[in-house]
């Protein structure tokens, strides 16, 4: 820790909205002293503790692991707990909830549409467990490497919120769920690959993606859902062609 702490007074503009009582969202402005250790999350917590207890914010791990604190900071998708306010180099910091999800209150959105998509792709290993070893199911590093990046997804829902294809078709599985689908389809321990590929080939599956790359711009973990979707497209096309050439 540095002994000379730089402190600056920053302005926070928070988009407030309580759909039960408010007709329209509105902005509240706050001033707060921040130092080089202040994250957006710490700033919000201090505002709640010292200035306005009515601000609603969701967080859990405070360490960029749980994915519950994603929001828009100055129009960019970020994790509140991982973003240092002084490093933004802005005097005014604008905080808004994730777009395209219904607002529950202020910065807290209802992400059930994202979770529904996630459940639809069966986000767990599927295999004949009767043959499983006593201890963990081992995987060689080369096999893990294929899905390594995809396993880093923390399900924050930023990508789903940013996707133009989700905006035009709310049934579309979306980048987040499809990245998970890629992760399990290409897990060498999984035995459900054929069915998984069939599922993502449905009307609301991978072919809704027009490679607009909004999810890549959005992802605070700098993952690449578009690449995963493009891989699934090719894998599902190959499987379908194989099916036709056999019959």
């Amino acid at each position: 820790m540095s002994s000379t702490k730089e402190t600056k007074t920053l302005t926070f503009k928070i988009k407030r909205f309580n759909p039960v009582v408010d007709d329209e969202p509105y902005w509240d402005t706050y001033e707060l002293d921040c130092d080089d250790g202040t994250t957006v999350l710490i700033a919000i917590q201090e505002l709640i503790a010292k200035q306005d207890g009515s601000i609603a914010m969701r967080y859990n791990c405070r360490a960029g692991v749980c994915g519950s604190c994603a929001l828009l900071v100055n129009n960019k998708y970020m994790l509140a707990c991982e973003t240092l306010v002084l490093q933004l180099n802005k005097k005014v910091i604008k905080l808004e909830p994730l777009p395209s999800y219904p607002v529950i209150k202020d910065l807290v959105v209802d992400m059930s549409q994202f979770y529904e998509k996630l459940l639809a792709i069966d986000p767990y290993l599927k295999r004949d467990h009767s043959k499983d070893p006593e201890t963990e199911i081992l995987q060689i590093p080369e096999d893990f490497h294929i899905i390594e990046e995809a396993t880093k997804c923390i399900l924050c829902g930023a990508c789903h919120s940013s996707c133009v294809s989700v905006w035009t078709d709310t049934n579309y599985l979306g980048p987040g769920a499809l990245l998970k689908a890629f992760r399990f389809t290409n897990d060498t321990r999984d035995e459900d690959r054929r069915e998984r590929l069939k599922r993502v080939t449905s009307e609301d599956g991978v072919y809704r993606c027009h490679t607009a790359f909004n999810c890549v711009e959005a992802c605070p973990k700098e993952l690449n859902p578009t690449e995963a979707i493009q891989t699934l497209k090719r894998q599902s096309a190959k499987q379908t062609l194989k099916f036709w050439s056999r019959s």
Binding site: K76, P102, L119, A218, N224, T226, K233
Partner: protein, 174 residues
């Protein structure tokens, strides 16, 4: 298994159409975290629709070649000839501009300039999208965009030279 209760869904349903960023329509124009990828896709769709519109206008005009014969007029080709003559006339005819400018600002040239711009963009960005479908260059999408844009601009200048300048040179030589 997590199951969202029915009532909860109903309470928030209207908010999906209008989240805290405004209506579903307004959302498209808000500048949050988006880049070349989205704008190039939007332009791809808009130029694609323009090209479809052009195809229909093209069918209509070419169709007039046969229309007057079909309608039993005395002078076959009159309709088509007068349309093409009107298209070939200068926008600044009789306004005292130099002859070169007059001949370059023909109605048909202006339309062709727009059409070729749309086609060149759509074609080159189309190649970019096809590359992604083949799994090529997905992590270099922005660089590929700029490279193809430069190629597109070069092709465009070449095309403009061929349709606007070369005919003038040929005509002048005759």
């Amino acid at each position: 298994m997590i199951k969202v209760s029915e009532t909860e869904n109903i309470v928030h349903q209207s908010q999906v159409e209008t989240d805290s960023h405004g209506s579903k329509f307004y959302r498209w124009f808000k500048p949050f975290s988006r880049g070349i990828g989205m704008y190039s896709w939007l332009a791809q769709r808009l130029t694609g629709l323009l090209l479809i519109m052009y195809v229909f206008i093209h069918f209509g005009i070419i169709g007039t070649m046969l229309l007057d014969t079909f309608l039993g007029f005395e002078t076959p080709g009159l309709l088509y000839n007068s349309i093409t003559a009107a298209m070939g006339s200068s926008l600044v005819a009789g306004m005292g501009f130099p002859e070169v400018v007059e001949s370059m600002l023909r109605f048909s040239y202006i339309i062709d300039a727009g059409l070729i711009a749309a086609l060149v963009y759509h074609g080159y960005n189309g190649i970019r999208v096809v590359l992604f479908d083949l799994g090529i260059g997905i992590r270099k999408q922005k660089q590929i965009f700029w490279i193809l844009l430069i190629l597109g601009i070069i092709s465009y200048i070449l095309a403009m030279y061929l349709i606007m300048i070369v005919p003038e040179i040929v005509l002048a030589g005759e």
